[in-house]
């Protein structure tokens, strides 16, 4: 449904995207996962025909994003990262405006937006600029959906949004996916990756990996251990000198220790810690999360630079 081939985007000396290729299937909920400045917005803006690529090509539903840009815009809904509705229009006026621009009415596509719009309908006479963050986000999504697009492109819809609103937003995306809409969504929150069908990890303009979240977590090439201790900061300092270390990072209340495959056991790690004066430690073998995968790929990338 979305084909990206060898896209490159350069601003002066800065390479924002380097040889990016992606293939997103019809009906997929696809996540673009990476920190700020990774190139997520640039890629989305190219797909939405708002930017021209320096090289390469992309198509959506077999329509070229450069040549057929007018048609592309009709079949896509876009929610930019910055709130870009009209702050001086009311909630209802914004929605009507977008419906009219696309030659449709709110009533015609009511079934699509009902779930979401219902939540902000009590405020329909309020100006969009006066809404809270969560409500703005719901209105923006309603506006992006009003012309019944086949593809939705959402640029960091959950950034700066609290954990509860984030969960609700992903539930909405699931429902839209079930209606057959292809969704490309970007996020800097690694924990949201597992809610996607497939994900691409992107960093410094390059795609580091593309797979289902499960595949990515299962194919973690090293050993990962969860270490619990009372003084997590001290323990992490000591683990920085353990043989065969790849990384040690705090994950909330625990440490994730990554060591080269087959070099350690829970006993050998515990022994190492005891020898260095750390007692009361729990070490368990664990599965990698997407964040672990991202950190490992970033580390490998930094080493080769």
């Amino acid at each position: 449904m979305i084909e990206v081939q060898n896209i490159r985007k350069q601003y002066g000396d800065v390479v924002a995207l380097e040889n990016v290729s992606l293939s997103i299937q019809r009906g997929e909920l696809f996540g673009l996962i990476g920190p700020d400045g990774a190139g997520k917005t640039t890629l989305m803006r190219i797909l939405m025909s708002l930017l021209l690529p320096t090289a390469g090509s992309a198509s959506m539903d077999n329509l070229d994003v450069v040549k057929d840009y007018k048609k592309v815009r009709l079949i896509t809904g876009y929610m930019p990262g910055r709130f870009s509705l009209y702050p001086d229009l009311t909630v209802e006026e914004n929605l009507k405006f977008f419906a009219t621009v696309f030659g449709t009415t709110i009533e015609e596509n009511d079934h699509l937006i009902k779930d979401i719009y219902q939540q902000i309908e009590p405020f329909k006479t309020r100006r969009a600029g006066q809404l809270s963050g969560g409500m703005k986000q719901k209105l923006a999504l309603s506006c992006a959906l009003i012309h019944k697009p086949e593809i939705l492109i959402l640029d960091e819809p959950t950034t700066g949004v609290d954990a509860v609103s984030r969960k609700e937003f992903w539930e909405m995306l699931k429902r839209l996916k079930n209606m057959g809409i292809t969704i490309l969504v970007s996020t800097p929150y690694m924990d949201e990756a597992t809610l996607c069908d497939r994900i691409a990890l992107i960093q410094e303009g390059k795609i580091m990996s593309v797979a289902t979240p499960e595949e990515m977590m299962h194919s973690f090439p090293e050993d990962l251990w969860t270490v619990r201790s009372r003084k997590i900061y001290n323990t992490s300092k000591i683990l920085e000198i353990i043989p065969s270390l790849i990384s040690v990072n705090s994950f909330g209340q625990v440490l994730h220790l990554v060591t080269a495959k087959g070099q350690h056991t829970t006993e050998s790690i515990r022994e190492f810690l005891t020898k260095n004066g750390e007692n009361d430690i729990i070490v368990e073998s664990d599965k990698a999360t997407i964040e672990d995968v991202f950190i490992l790929l970033m580390q490998k990338h930094n080493q080769t630079v």
């Binding site: 700020d36 960091e156 949004v161 954990a163 984030r166 800097p188 690694m190 909330g252 970033m298």
Partner: protein, 242 residues
């Protein structure tokens, strides 16, 4: 490390905007040398409270003391004794690294000799010596945020307020940032931090959770998890906010 000596005292803090109550009778203390997490949904009233504590906004009523100074009459003294950084505003993009340091050092009223000595030490520690004359706008976000934090504590304040300092930052830099926070705490600086990353709530000594203008929970992460029968802070937050 924490000796329960309060550096922030808030009693019956109320802030109204017209009929809207942004802060509804807040009561809490922040102790010297602790990492105090300030968590809450969007619009819960966190930013309003931080602006008051930094001396940027006057409360409607209540008694507040920050770093030993009264919030109504000694805001200038408060500003000299605190540091502040947020994701939205940190440094001037068009100034170089060195110029930003000079500017903020000046704003905080630091002596030139002191500022110079600290600048060297800081750039050395952050591995940014080579980038001294680069414009901030040319630096990656992660570097900017680490630098912004170091500048916010350049004048060795009693308290540093961090408003979502790690939003959008990559996972490695996010952790390096927290290491900087720990180092600051070891120097005796009290850290007041807001975040949407619930794993970061675990790194705090105590966490307060705000909802609709009120503090609905305040305790150590460990006690909160016990109290709400949750495996992590994410679950605690969901149980409280939903």
């Amino acid at each position: 490390m924490i000796n329960k000596e309060p550096v922030i005292t808030v009693k019956n803090m109320v802030k109204r905007f017209g009929t809207f109550v942004a802060n509804d009778n807040l009561n809490f203390e922040v102790y010297k040398g602790e990492i105090f997490g300030f968590i809450g949904a969007n619009g819960a009233g966190k930013t309003t409270a931080i602006r008051i504590l930094c001396g940027l906004s006057t409360p409607t009523s209540g008694e507040m003391n920050v770093a030993g100074y009264d919030i109504y009459h000694q805001t200038e003294k408060i500003k000299k004794n605190i540091g502040y950084m947020s994701q939205k505003f940190s440094l001037y993009e068009d100034l170089t690294v060195a110029e930003n340091i000079r500017f903020f050092g000046g704003v905080y009223g630091m002596k030139i000799t002191e500022r110079k000595a600290r600048t060297e030490e800081m750039l050395e520690r952050l591995d940014l010596m080579a980038f001294k004359n680069r414009k901030i706008g040319d630096l990656p976000l992660g570097w900017k945020q680490k630098l912004a934090f170091s500048i916010a504590i350049l004048h060795n304040p009693k308290i540093v307020f961090l408003d979502e300092p790690t939003g959008g930052v990559d996972p490695i830099t996010r952790r390096q940032f927290w290491n900087l926070i720990y180092e600051a705490v070891q120097k005796g600086i009290t850290v007041f931090v807001t975040t949407h990353y619930m794993d970061e709530a675990e790194y705090c000594d105590r966490v307060s959770i705000m909802s609709e203008g009120q503090i609905v929970a305040l305790d150590t992460p460990e006690n909160l998890k016990k109290q709400y029968n949750a495996i992590n802070m994410d679950e605690v937050f969901l149980k409280i906010a939903r």
